[in-house]
């Protein structure tokens, strides 16, 4: 609790003790009123002052004014009837208790969430004249060398130039498994160095580093307001004046009608009392605080799991996801092509791969690179000569004096060699050596181990349709989709086609269900922004993805997509619960108040009690770990 809250607590306790003591005190008449005035002023003086200022600034319908009118009215009735002063004091007292609770809860969750996102590095170690000095990370220029000791946070993105260690990335990705780094590896800021000393050459400024971007994103996330928040803000704007006007009507109309129309006694006191209970209920606090608090907690909880949501509005849209479209490469598959089989080979597999890698050594095509990776050793280019690249079909080259042909079946036929077709899916690389068929190598993109589970989890979370977009040939795409359980596949797409396919899907789907597009953030910015909600995954270190997407998954685990949807659903459920609960209870109490069944104590519950319950419920949105 801060100083202000402590002072308020003291005032609440003093007023409560005084009020109870006075209840038993044997005084009556004017003296009793004066004595009761003491706890009333102790607890309510600031409200009265604020109400006065509000009137001067023509802010009639502000809470302070309402509370002031309600309590002064109740006091006046008590004086008139020489009755119960405790009600007026209790209204003020509980109102203040509610305010105190709210400010405590909000402060607490603010701190909670900033602790969750405690990845901001305070300093960077720079070596100067053989000694380590701590400097502000902002002052470290690109290309400087920094040192990160065990237990410290990596302050700036960079490349390891000396040392090896394991890094704890859990603050960034929610992943508890440490990541091993060694010389030459890129390293992102925000990770915690666990074991060894690392010397790092920075490749970005602090402001451009991952950690700054993430913090910026999270801190500003709840500024993009959701439709629920806008609704509540608008509701609050009409709710308070409307209740106040009906309070006025309730105080004046029934007595007048009774007097003039029915010839009964007007009973001014009873009707004014009912009107005053209206004023107590008219404060929209519960709604206005609990909705943004729910979103704030939901976004905070999600970021703890490595899911960054850029705004409350996106969390809201995400919860309505009915269709998830994947860009296959990098989301469901690892996006790295690997040799997955070698068939009909006339020589040793390793030898065949060696020839293929050597022949393709000049090419930077992903297929060529995967062959070079499969070969695994440094390539001696002097063994290769007479390289001839035949665009679209393959490569001819001389390796160790043998003529090697590497390519597709078109190339083979051109050389009058009959290729053996393959029953496995993937890209087939045929090889011919010295004019004779030497076998083929199958290269395929590796499906992520969690992909199938991820699709099942999406279905379980209520996503009706899953779609896969890919540039791959039809057979490969169909096979991957079938093995994962994806409903619809569009294959052999050019990058530009993806936008038009997503637009088609957007037009087909029902209005309520939203379409989410999941990409790896590379080359799919237009699609990410075209979809109702763009999800980029594997974003550690990829600025483009962080810029373009609405939801950013820090690691590349596709299971997080379903988790993000579950988090959003939980958060939105809490929001709707709070809206329905708060409006429901208030409406019920207004009705009971108008009928004279509800007294001021019930009105206090409708105001403060509902707020406390709504705030506690809102904080539930923070707990998403086991969702």
């Amino acid at each position: 609790m801060n100083k202000r809250q402590k002072k308020m607590l003291l005032r609440i306790l003093t007023a409560a003790v005084l009020m109870i003591a006075l209840y038993f005190a044997p005084v009556s008449g004017g003296l009793r009123f004066v004595l009761y005035l003491v706890p009333y002023l102790v607890i309510g003086y600031d409200i009265l002052i604020k109400a006065g200022k509000g009137i001067r600034n023509r802010q009639v319908f502000d809470e302070n004014f309402l509370m002031a009118v309600a309590t002064i009215g109740a006091m006046a009735i008590a004086v008139y009837e020489d009755g119960d002063y405790t009600e007026a004091i209790a209204v003020m007292l509980f109102y203040q208790v509610g305010e105190l609770f709210q400010s405590y809860a909000v402060g607490k969750s603010r701190r909670n969430i900033s602790e969750l996102m405690d990845i901001r590095p305070d300093y960077a170690n720079v070596e100067q004249a053989g000694e380590l000095t701590q400097v502000d990370p902002d002052e470290v220029a690109v290309g400087s060398t920094i040192i990160v000791q065990p237990g410290e946070k990596v302050p700036i993105d960079g490349v390891v130039i000396e040392g090896s260690s394991s890094l704890n990335t859990s603050a960034l990705t929610g992943e508890s498994l440490p990541r091993e780094v060694k010389e030459g590896d890129e390293i992102v800021s925000g990770c915690i160095n666990m074991t060894g000393v690392l010397k790092i050459r920075t490749i970005k400024e602090f402001g451009e580093s991952t950690v700054s971007k993430i913090l910026d994103l999270v801190e500003n996330a709840s500024s993009r307001k959701s439709r629920s928040e806008d609704f509540i803000a608008k509701f609050a704007r009409i709710y308070t004046p409307a209740v106040c006007c009906s309070a006025l009507a309730l105080a004046v109309l029934p007595p007048v009608v009774r007097m003039a129309g029915l010839g009964l006694s007007p009973e001014w006191g009873a009707w004014i009392y009912r009107a005053l209970t209206f004023l107590v209920i008219s404060c929209p606090c519960a709604l206005v605080i609990s909705i943004p608090l729910s979103f704030f907690a939901g976004i905070g909880g999600a970021s703890r799991e490595g899911i960054l949501v850029k705004g409350s509005n996106y969390l809201e849209t995400l919860s309505k996801t009915g269709c998830v479209v994947f860009d296959k490469t990098g989301t469901l598959t690892q996006g790295v092509f690997e040799v997955s089989g070698i068939h009909h080979n006339t020589m040793e597999e390793a030898k065949l791969v060696e020839y293929a890698a050597l022949a393709e050594s000049a090419s930077s095509h992903p297929i060529s690179r995967s062959l070079q990776r499969a070969y695994g050793r440094a390539i001696d280019r002097s063994r290769v000569s007479e390289v001839q690249e035949l665009g679209g079909s393959g490569i001819l080259a001389k390796v160790d004096g043998h003529s090697v042909a590497v390519g597709n079946d078109k190339l083979m036929r051109r050389l009058h060699i009959e290729p053996v077709s393959c029953h496995k899916v993937g890209t087939i690389i045929h090889m011919a050596i010295d004019g004779a068929y030497a076998g083929h190598i199958v290269i395929s993109d590796v499906v992520k181990p969690e992909a199938e589970q991820a699709i099942a989890a999406l279905k379980a979370a209520g996503v009706e349709k899953t779609v896969m977009l890919t540039g791959d040939i039809h057979t490969v795409a169909e096979q991957v989709a079938a093995s994962l359980g994806i409903d619809l596949v569009y294959s052999e797409l050019l990058p530009g086609d993806k936008v038009s396919r997503v637009e088609e899907l957007l037009a087909q789907k029902p209005q309520r269900a939203k379409l989410a597009f999941v990409g790896d953030g590379i080359n799919d910015a237009p699609v990410l922004s075209r979809a109702d909600i763009g999800i980029a995954m594997g974003a550690m270190g990829s600025d483009a993805a962080i810029e373009a997407a609405d939801v950013v998954l820090m690691d590349d685990n596709p299971l997080k997509i379903a988790k993000a949807i579950r988090i959003s659903r939980k958060c939105l459920r809490i929001v709707y619960e709070n809206i329905a609960f708060a409006i429901g209870v208030k409406a019920a109490c207004l009705l009971l108040g108008a009928l004279g069944i509800a007294n001021m104590w019930l009105a206090i519950f409708a105001d403060v009690g509902v707020m406390v319950i709504a705030v506690l419920n809102a904080i539930r949105a923070l707990f998403v770990k086991h969702l």
């Binding site: 600034n57 802010q59 502000d62 809470e63 803000a233």
Partner: protein
């Protein structure tokens, strides 16, 4: 041009009122108050001097909620 300011305010409804007041201030194109992070993001109209406009924003906010502060 957009700028972010730290604010101090006690209740969520007051934050909404501050947002309204800021939006209505001359020279302000749009304003968002984030109660949870206690920040005000103000987008100024072309050719406006943020410092001057913010003085006005602060005055208007004080009118609707006496107990608020904007750290300019």
């Amino acid at each position: 041009m957009k700028k972010t300011y730290k604010i101090d305010v006690d209740c969520a409804n007051c934050a909404n009122k501050m947002e309204e007041a800021a939006r209505r201030t001359q020279g302000v194109k749009d304003a968002v108050v984030n109660f949870m992070t206690l920040k005000m993001i103000v987008e100024f109209e072309e050719g406006q001097e943020p410092k001057k406009v913010m003085q006005e924003v602060r005055r208007n906010c004080k009118k609707v909620e006496d107990d608020c502060e904007i750290f300019i």
